[in-house]
């Protein structure tokens, strides 16, 4: 018998009529939208966008009707690995290529989508003009178009997700939350602010995901926008320095990644059908750890460099490069010192990672002071604006957009969150070392079936821990709660427990003897 017996599903998919209709309508709506690249507006004013949203709504309703209505509430993963769209088949590749192409046009060729500077828009973007004028009194930009589509995707696919998990209160409440934050905080409030001649501001966007939060133009814009602008700037600082650590301490990084964040919002709703495609191998984990922390370091260095050049000519007694160097020396040095002094807390930290962190932070601190004393303008030897545009191109656009969403159907729905997001990196460090959050394993009930690992969008091999009876404390866990939902034996529970220092130990473990032989990778 073949050692790698591969059980394959039926060639013919058994999608119901309504599910097929839903997928068909979604395709028609998308074709309708993209037809504007070649033909002009079909129905004037709000007509086109209303029809578009109506078509997507009908598509969603039809799919929900076929897939969930009249069926018992429970786990609905049947045939995921038999369907082309959800098992890296031809449809998945087609969707991946389409999404990737869309992002390329959006970021680098918005004129092909109809963006006209200093004139009336044409093509796809013109379809969004009426809505944009209504909300903020200006014609649409490509970002307004994108924001609208993004919000529609989160809302409609969010409703679908809620039907899929309608038996699970955690998912109902969490999904309501991401839908609310997207609609209100990411979409409506910033647009309305602009209508009121205030700066565009998303109150839930946090540096370093919001990598331009402390760019010179941003600071200029906010400081010149009166008290509200100053509040926004203070809010930005408070978010990362105060709000984030406190909430993460109590709830883990999930409060942001799967309850508030827009990237997470899209991943949890529109991306949900692809969550099982994330790579669970040890190799993927090794790549992930280095990559995400590298992005965090780069965004930190870039932000310091930008602030350095912004403050270079400053004669202000407080806001100048000297205070900048002191501030970041204290922050970076403090973090490194903490890691080396509080050995007990950081005992699970990879010693190599520790050394690399020490070296990188030291180099950055030395560079700051060297530039300070030599009066060098370009802190990182290249002009800050150049580093900034490289970051925007490579990380901001290519990684988070083109790859992050474009590769949903091929690499799962959290590629960006897992491998690239510097915000997730910070929250992850907090979650691992300073948080009450963990996933508890229920005694010995695990049957190693693999549903938890397979449906973990972050690629965590949950089963590895569960079958040993060990609690799961992983930096990358976004607390989506799907592992707990799909577990057929009730083994996993997301918890905020009191025993913070004990949580990673094997208190609930089957094994009783410390082993002399290294078994656990």
């Amino acid at each position: 018998m073949d050692s790698n017996l591969s059980i394959t599903g039926p060639a013919a998919s058994t999608l119901s009529f309504w599910e097929k209709l839903g997928l068909g309508l979604a395709a028609i709506a998308t074709l309708y939208l993209f037809s504007f690249m070649w033909v002009g507006s079909i129905i004037s004013n709000f007509g086109d966008i209303s029809l578009l949203i109506l078509l997507y709504a009908m598509a969603t309703a039809s799919y929900i009707y076929g897939a969930y209505i009249g069926k018992s509430a429970g786990i609905k993963n049947d045939q995921n690995y038999f369907r082309s769209l959800t098992s890296r088949g031809a449809l998945a590749w087609a969707l991946g290529i389409f999404l990737t192409g869309f992002y390329v046009l959006l970021y680098w060729y918005p004129s092909t989508l109809g963006l006209v500077k200093n004139g009336p828009n044409t093509g796809i973007i013109a379809v969004f003009d009426p809505l944009s004028r209504f909300l903020k009194g200006q014609p649409a930009s490509q970002w307004f178009m994108y924001g609208t589509l993004y919000t529609v995707a989160i809302l409609f696919m969010g409703v679908k997700f809620m039907y899929k998990y309608r038996h699970n209160s955690y998912h109902l409440i969490r999904t309501t939350s991401v839908m609310f934050f997207q609609l209100a905080f990411a979409f409506l409030i910033p647009e309305i602010l602009q209508r009121l001649n205030q700066p565009y501001f998303d109150f839930k966007m946090i540096w370093p995901l919001d990598y331009y939060a402390f760019f010179d133009w941003r600071i200029e814009e906010l400081t010149s926008s009166g008290q509200l602008g100053i509040f926004m700037l203070v809010w930005s600082v408070a978010l990362i320095l105060i709000v984030t650590p406190i909430l993460t301490y109590f709830f883990g990084k999930r409060w942001y990644c799967s309850w508030v964040c827009g990237c997470g919002g899209l991943a949890e709703t529109a991306g949900d059908p692809f969550r099982h495609l994330s790579d669970k191998s040890l190799r993927a984990w090794q790549i992930e750890r280095w990559m995400i922390h590298a992005v965090l370091f780069i965004v930190t260095a870039m932000t310091i460099a930008v602030l350095h050049s912004y403050l270079y000519d400053s004669s202000d007694p407080i806001f100048n490069t000297t205070s900048l160097s002191i501030l970041f020396s204290v922050i970076l040095g403090g973090i490194v010192a903490w890691i080396y002094i509080d050995k007990e807390r950081f005992k699970s930290l990879d010693p190599i990672a520790k050394k690399v962190g020490l070296v990188l932070c030291s180099v950055l601190i030395l560079l700051m002071w060297e530039a300070q004393f030599t009066g060098r303008y370009n802190l990182l030897f290249f002009p800050a604006h150049q580093i900034r545009s490289w970051y925007g191109f490579l990380i901001g656009a290519t990684f988070s957009g083109v790859i992050g969403v474009g590769f949903y159907p091929l690499m799962g729905n959290r590629v960006w969150c897992r491998f690239g997001c510097p915000m997730a990196a910070i929250l992850g460090i907090q979650q691992k070392f300073f948080s009450k959050f963990r996933i508890t394993t229920n005694g010995n009930q695990c049957i190693s079936c693999g549903n938890c690992s397979t449906y973990c969008e972050m690629g965590i091999d949950v089963k590895w821990y569960a079958q040993r009876g060990q609690d799961i404390v992983r930096a990358s866990c976004v607390g989506c709660g799907i592992c707990s939902a799909v577990c057929p034996r009730g083994v996993l529970r997301l918890e905020n427990g009191p025993d913070t220092s004990q949580k990673a130990t094997e208190i609930r473990s089957l094994q009783i003897e410390p082993s002399g032989v290294k078994l656990d990778v």
């Binding site: 591969s6 018992s72 045939q79 038996h167 010995n444 079936c449 397979t454 709660g481 009191p498």
Partner: protein, 478 residues
């Protein structure tokens, strides 16, 4: 430090592994029992380990077979560890079927097809698992008639499923309902023949059994209770075409699933000096009658099972505990197999099931049970009428914390105290409505008392409840 539920591991003197000569340990069967044995042998020693299976090279979760068929998982997702794990831990995986064993010379001979040189061993662990029962039904060996135990069984079911119009499942146990769910996932109509008057009623109490009956029927399964298989009828090609039931009804079907229990897979050892009854007979150290030969898991039969336990328990968790226990003995640290509290779990379509401790189906002694049920959710607590001490928990559609239930039972906690602390066993996801609250209200109503449920739930309530039960469970096991 808390102990771990399910199995009590004795406090043992640390054995100096250097005193044991280096040896080769062969394990036949790479299911959960064999694999667990291999892992724990490696944890303690540097002996050579060969894990032999004809079924599949890499150990996988047998309980997940249904999810492969349903398209939730791929076969490789059910593997217990990534391939590099076995290399790093020097567990040699050998895919071959053992044909005969020369216990005298300590040599394994393999099936001729496998083209595998005979293998000598110093110690042997037999963990060959089970086989589906066949009760001599006419036609039970026809094509299209199959149980579901192995990966090969699953492949066979898959092959039969192409164009399948109707399937019949025989036997009302856990595998039967899994198989019904499998066919349901592909919209293949199913008739489910259950000999008993209600599903799995020799294990599930009446209300719970009825709840599962309804769950099965609500998924469109043709559940025929109190109905037995009489014969399976062939077509011209020697495939099954229909079954005839004890009611005389003939049901056309292209597949018949035999799920009326399992028996130890030991036939290839019948003519050997190994003492075999239904399974391979072992003592409390899991030793067979032949020195250096052990048997664990589904294929092992305890000659003298602990009080309240059955000689053969073909359950995942038992295999896991036996695997860990035998590893100590094999490495020279003779360890008794002492399963502690019985526990098990399953899922019937969308209803999860967990049991801890002793939950009888009928009550004629000092035991009685408190039951509270809602639609698709219920909790039963079994206790002693005279002393009110709890002995068992039985949950449907409600998740309970294993350690908490076990601690209550081991500490002989009165049911009133359990009711007060009930939220400490709360293991449903966050924001679920508190079933526990309604349950305590119901208990108060029927007892005419007024127990106040401690409101806190989650991990902190569990940790404080454990603390309140005393210190006997918190002793260090090292």
């Amino acid at each position: 430090m808390l102990g771990h539920p399910g199995v009590r591991l004795p406090s043992r003197s640390r054995f100096n592994i250097n005193l044991i000569p280096f040896m080769h340990i062969a394990i036949i069967g790479n299911g959960i029992s064999g694999l667990t044995a291999a892992r724990f042998i490696r944890k303690q020693s540097n002996h050579d380990i060969t894990l032999i299976s004809g079924e599949r090279t890499y150990p996988f979760s047998r309980t997940a077979l249904m999810y492969i068929y349903m398209g939730h998982l791929r076969a490789k997702d059910t593997e217990l560890y990534e391939p590099h794990f076995y290399e790093e831990n020097r567990i040699r995986l050998l895919q071959a079927w053992v044909d005969t064993i020369d216990f005298e010379q300590q040599i394994l001979y393999f099936d001729a097809k496998d083209d595998q040189e005979p293998l000598t061993y110093d110690k042997l662990i037999i963990a060959t698992g089970s086989q589906p029962n066949r009760f001599g039904w006419p036609g039970e060996n026809l094509k299209g008639v199959r149980g579901m135990y192995s990966m090969q069984d699953l492949q066979s079911i898959e092959d039969c499923s192409q164009g399948l119009k109707h399937a019949v499942i025989v036997g009302g146990g856990l595998i039967g309902v899994e198989m019904a769910e499998m066919f349901h996932s592909r919209q293949i109509p199913v008739t489910f023949l259950v000999r008993e008057p209600s599903y799995w009623d020799m294990v599930l109490p009446e209300e719970e059994s009825q709840m599962v009956n309804e769950e099965i029927i609500s998924h469109g399964i043709d559940l025929q209770l109190g109905t037995e298989l009489k014969e399976i009828l062939p077509d011209e090609q020697g495939r099954c075409r229909a079954v005839r039931t004890s009611e005389g009804e003939e049901i056309s079907c292209g597949f018949v699933g035999l799920t009326a229990g399992v028996h130890p897979n030991v036939n290839f050892l019948r003519d050997s000096p190994l003492e075999i009854d239904k399974g391979i007979l072992v003592n409390e150290y899991l030793q067979t009658n032949i020195p250096h030969v052990y048997a664990i898991g589904d294929c092992a039969q305890l000659s003298d099972p602990p009080v309240g336990r059955r000689p053969i328990e073909a359950v995942w968790y038992v295999g896991k505990m036996m695997g860990e226990t035998v590893a100590y003995s094999v490495c020279g640290d003779l360890t008794r197999y002492e399963p502690q509290l019985w526990f098990n779990s399953a899922k019937f379509f969308d209803i999860e099931y967990q049991v801890y401790g002793h939950v009888p189906v009928t009550y004629d002694g000092p035991l009685t049970s408190f039951f509270y049920g809602q639609e698709k959710r219920s909790l039963r607590i079994v206790y002693d009428k005279r002393t009110t001490k709890v002995v068992g928990f039985h949950a449907m559609g409600v998740r309970l914390r294993h350690e908490m239930c076990e601690s209550w039972i081991l500490h002989q906690t009165p049911i009133e105290k359990v009711m007060t602390q009930l939220n400490a066993a709360y293991f449903d996801p966050e924001f679920y409505t508190s079933f526990q609250r309604d349950c305590v209200n119901h208990f108060n109503n029927i007892q005419g008392i007024n127990i106040q449920l401690s409101k806190k739930r989650g991990l902190s309530s569990f940790l404080s409840a454990i603390k309140s039960l005393g210190s006997s469970r918190t002793s260090k096991t090292k």
